[in-house]
């Protein structure tokens, strides 16, 4: 069931257009896109099936989508949409918080399910390190919601139906922040979310040198390396952008091989969308085996090289 009030989708990136429309349609048949970005992004949104596409403007280099909070809040108070939806990026999390404070509500974040019941918004999101799911019913008039990546299917009505574009550029006061330098530093995990095979190292890998053994397995499988949080933060054996779990990346590869990973919820929630999970651990009681399709109990220094040899034999 949906409400008669419109729902807003705040768009500042081309990758979010279809997914935000798909999510917003769970709440309302009337979905208005508020676009912050260049003309081609507005045109992409307008041909994606929104009821209306509003162009809030193209931000200058020193301004981010977060700086539109005051303008969007003012518009929201005037028009009372059901909710303003956005993706869960760094800038959008900041925008959501600023918008929520201005609308005196609490942002609902990383939402994986959305619906309306009796004209009120009901959302579901995970908490406690991914161990639990909470369902909440919004009590404030306007919801501020960030959506969980991958939880909603993109909605597309095809590029043949461009909807109206309304130029609605709003005044943005630049924040008292000066940009001294901007340097490009792609995360090494750039392609990890798309990898078909991922091998994850956990604390059971005794030393930094032993990571080489795990890397050989990743190579033999044609996969990429990832890790649990302690290896990236604290031990610094691997990049902070390579750890999987609740505060790191969530992935959905065809195969995830957990080597020396105990299987704590905080890590496993990042891989539970994998089609097949394999665990190698010397502790038979490690919780990772209950979360895996196939497992080998044993010392990874013996099991992993044996596995690499067996893989080479069949390739």
């Amino acid at each position: 069931m949906t409400t008669t009030r419109p729902t807003w989708a705040i768009i500042d990136s081309a990758t979010d257009v279809g997914v935000l429309l798909g999510a917003a349609r769970q709440l309302s048949d009337v979905v208005v896109a508020l676009v912050i970005g260049p003309r081609h992004l507005v045109e992409q949104a307008s041909s994606s099936g929104f009821s209306e596409t509003r162009w809030l403007g193209e931000p200058a280099a020193t301004v981010g989508s977060e700086d539109y909070a005051a303008a969007i809040a003012e518009l929201a108070l005037r028009e009372t949409p059901t909710a303003a939806l956005m993706a869960s990026s760094t800038r959008n999390r900041l925008l959501a918080g600023r918008l929520a404070a201005r609308l005196d509500t609490s942002a609902l974040t990383d939402v994986s399910d959305l619906r309306t019941e009796d004209d009120t918004v009901v959302v579901t999101h995970s908490l406690y390190g991914g161990a639990a799911l909470r369902t909440e019913r919004l009590l404030s008039a306007i919801g501020v919601i960030t959506i969980s990546a991958g939880a909603f299917a993109a909605f597309g009505s095809g590029p043949s139906w461009p909807g109206p574009i309304v130029e609605a550029s709003c005044a943005v006061t630049p924040p008292p922040i000066s940009l001294l330098e901007r340097r490009s530093e792609p995360r090494s995990a750039g392609t990890l979310p798309q990898a078909k095979v991922v091998v994850g190292a956990g604390r059971g890998v005794g030393s930094r040198d032993d990571l080489g053994v795990v890397e050989e397995l990743a190579q033999a499988l044609g996969g990429q390396m990832a890790c649990t949080r302690p290896l990236a933060e604290g031990l610094n054996w691997m990049g902070r952008d390579q750890y999987l779990g609740v505060s790191g990346l969530s992935i959905a590869p065809d195969l995830y091989v957990a080597v020396g990973v105990s299987g704590q919820m905080q890590h496993m929630v990042g891989v539970d969308q994998a089609r097949v999970i394999v665990a190698i651990n010397n502790d038979k009681a490690a919780p990772v085996f209950a979360e895996s399709d196939y497992g080998i109990v044993g010392d990874l220094h013996q099991v992993v090289p044996a596995l690499v040899d067996a893989l080479k034999a069949v390739s």
């Binding site: 909070a69 760094t90 800038r91 999390r93 900041l94 959501a96 918080g97 600023r98 929520a100 404070a101 005196d104 509500t105 609490s106 942002a107 974040t109 009901v122 406690y128 390190g129 161990a131 639990a132 799911l133 909470r134 909440e136 019913r137 009590l139 404030s140 008292p176 922040i177 000066s178 001294l180 330098e181 901007r182 340097r183 995360r187 750039g190 499988l221 933060e233 902070r240 505060s247 195969l255 919820m265 496993m268 929630v269 539970d272 089609r275 394999v278 085996f289 209950a290 979360e291 399709d293 196939y294 497992g295 080998i296 109990v297 010392d299 099991v303 044996a306 596995l307 067996a310 069949v314």
Partner: protein
């Protein structure tokens, strides 16, 4: 100069117990400072050796009002602690927490810098620090990887997707720092003993500057354990070579190798 650090006292999610009906309980959980906020405490303490006073602020129900909470926070560097203790903060959402913390900062007065961690270990909504900054009407940034004070402003590095911005922001400012910003200390016995001598004040929601929000902005309908995708749980035994061969066979059957 006064720096305040927002700390959350929360249950350890690893101690969560799941009932057979999917219900969850923290009854036997250990509580501690949200690990992300420990980074903020470390950043504040390292900045304050140059400039001034660090005040930690913790808000929550009467469960936080213990000497363990005080020592745990104060042994990590702050000069004093402000606790907002009020049972109306049970199951507080980001709006309630932010409104209580912003009210405490207003009452502390003359605060130049507010620091907090990226999110809390239990809810990890990554919202409270941002909403505190906006409620105070200050410039506010998240994903801050380093902080340096330069007189009446501060210089920060902030990661946004594949870019790192170096920004200069006039004080006062509210910053949510990432784990890159500092390596939190493990307090030693001397720091824990010294913590017992540092001052703490306890306020209720009624003692704060602007009136604090006492209701949630949403009603919790249910909180249940996540049900996991059912896995095959096949274990291969024997020598490493035998087990490896069986696993490769299974992976071939799944068309994965």
């Amino acid at each position: 100069m006064t720096i305040t650090v927002l700390c959350k006292w929360c249950p350890d999610t690893e101690d969560l117990e799941v009932g057979s009906d999917g219900s969850i309980s923290f009854e036997r959980a250990k509580w501690s400072i949200s690990e992300y906020d420990r980074v903020a405490l470390e950043v504040a303490t390292s900045l304050a050796t140059e400039v001034g006073e660090v005040v930690a602020v913790v808000a929550g129900t009467s469960i936080i009002d213990t000497s363990m909470t005080r020592k745990s926070v104060l042994s990590r560097g702050p000069d004093r602690l402000v606790m907002v203790v009020d049972d109306r903060l049970a199951e507080a959402d980001a709006r309630q927490s932010a409104s209580a913390l912003a009210g405490a900062i207003a009452r502390i007065g003359d605060v130049d810098l507010v620091l907090c961690g990226a999110g809390s270990t239990d809810l990890f909504a990554q919202q409270v620090g941002i909403q505190v900054g906006e409620r105070l009407g200050w410039p506010t940034l998240n994903e801050v990887a380093s902080v340096h004070l330069t007189g009446s402003s501060c210089r920060v590095e902030r990661r946004v997707v594949d870019e790192i911005d170096t920004l200069e922001v006039a004080l006062p400012v509210a910053l949510a720092v990432t784990a890159d910003a500092a390596l939190p200390r493990v307090p030693g016995m001397r720091e824990i003993l010294a913590a017992g001598k540092k001052p703490t004040v306890v306020w209720s929601l009624d003692d704060l500057g602007p009136p604090a929000a006492v209701d949630r902005a949403s009603q919790v309908v249910s909180t249940v354990a996540r049900s996991h995708s059912t896995r095959l749980q096949v274990l291969f035994e024997g020598s490493p070579t035998e087990a490896a061969a069986q696993l490769v066979g299974a992976l071939r059957h799944e068309s994965l190798v």
